[in-house]
Symmetry: C2
Subunit: 186 residues, 2 copies
């Protein structure tokens, strides 16, 4: 059965270093690392979310290279993982695509590095995901993270990964750890 | 107390796609992502292992930029993480540096994507690490992974991360997940 969890990697709206709302450029390593994690843990799909036409074309070119082009012959395991990638202009667009596929409202999960009184723990979310009739979209912010508005409008806010007084993981590492905690064999 | 676990990122000896033993180039994203994970989970140090003089100089230049140069002012959290980095020419050299510091023989742990009859599980290794008098060096292979000889000479071989029939994580993602399983709050 297809997984009910989808990843959204958000390039807008997110904060920059000065807490201004910006659109970040797509990072090639994000695409590959997150797609490979998504495939490892059996995620339903990986939405790269960006409104910038140049970035949409870049992602489509990378995916085409590995899924249909010479890359698919050179390294077929990349074809497996990168074929999970979809491109959306907005979070709403990704959400709608999933809702249409499932015929059910998508539940949104926001992530971030800071604690929040309303956040839920990993074990609770792991249990919620067992409701196989509901699709979930887990959102990861690039740059300095998801905006307050995105967090406020999410159905759930996931607790941060607790480090030893340091909470500056790359988004790639955060996705790897969070998918393992939610879907990995225990 | 300083952690007794050290990371070694091995650029030689490792296999390439054709199972020939080679030396890979250092990847900037490996340096940053793994250093930030190491700092997050309180690892004792992060050894970048490469015999190539050009690559040693590259790593030293990156570290200098973020630890002493303009990068240390631009983003002090990078200074925190990248100051954990050491460069070694061989696995033995890294091992010796740790053994000298601790006055005890270092135990080596090899990692890889394939199952092995002698491998130990994450929970067992998590418990072994509680022996705070013994330093441990956990080795991660770049390219197509650590050589058989490195695995055979290790004290422990860690079980692979089990995916849904897909075991092609990036080394960056594997380090993130493994550190979380060994040292993360549970």
């Amino acid at each position: 059965m297809e997984s009910n969890l989808y990843i959204g990697l958000v390039h807008h709206p997110i904060y920059d270093k000065r807490r201004e709302i910006v659109a970040t450029a797509v990072t090639n390593f994000d695409i590959h690392d997150i797609a490979r994690c998504a495939r490892t843990f059996g995620v339903g799909g990986f939405f790269v979310i960006t409104p910038l036409e140049s970035q949409i074309q870049l992602v489509e070119r990378i995916v085409r290279h590995w899924v249909e082009g010479v890359g698919s012959v050179y390294n077929p395991t990349r074809k497996d993982s990168l074929s999970l990638i979809r491109v959306s202009r907005t979070i709403d667009e990704a959400d709608r695509e999933i809702s249409d596929l499932w015929g059910r409202k998508t539940k949104r999960i926001a992530t971030g590095a800071s604690p929040h009184p309303k956040s839920i723990g990993f074990e609770i979310l792991r249990k919620l995901l067992r409701d196989q009739n509901t699709p979930f979209l887990i959102l990861f912010g690039t740059g300095w993270g998801l905006t307050q508005e995105v967090k406020d409008s999410a159905d759930y806010l996931l607790a941060p990964i607790e480090g030893k007084g340091y909470n500056h993981l790359s988004v790639r590492s955060a996705v790897a750890i969070i998918l393992d905690r939610l879907l990995g064999d225990r």
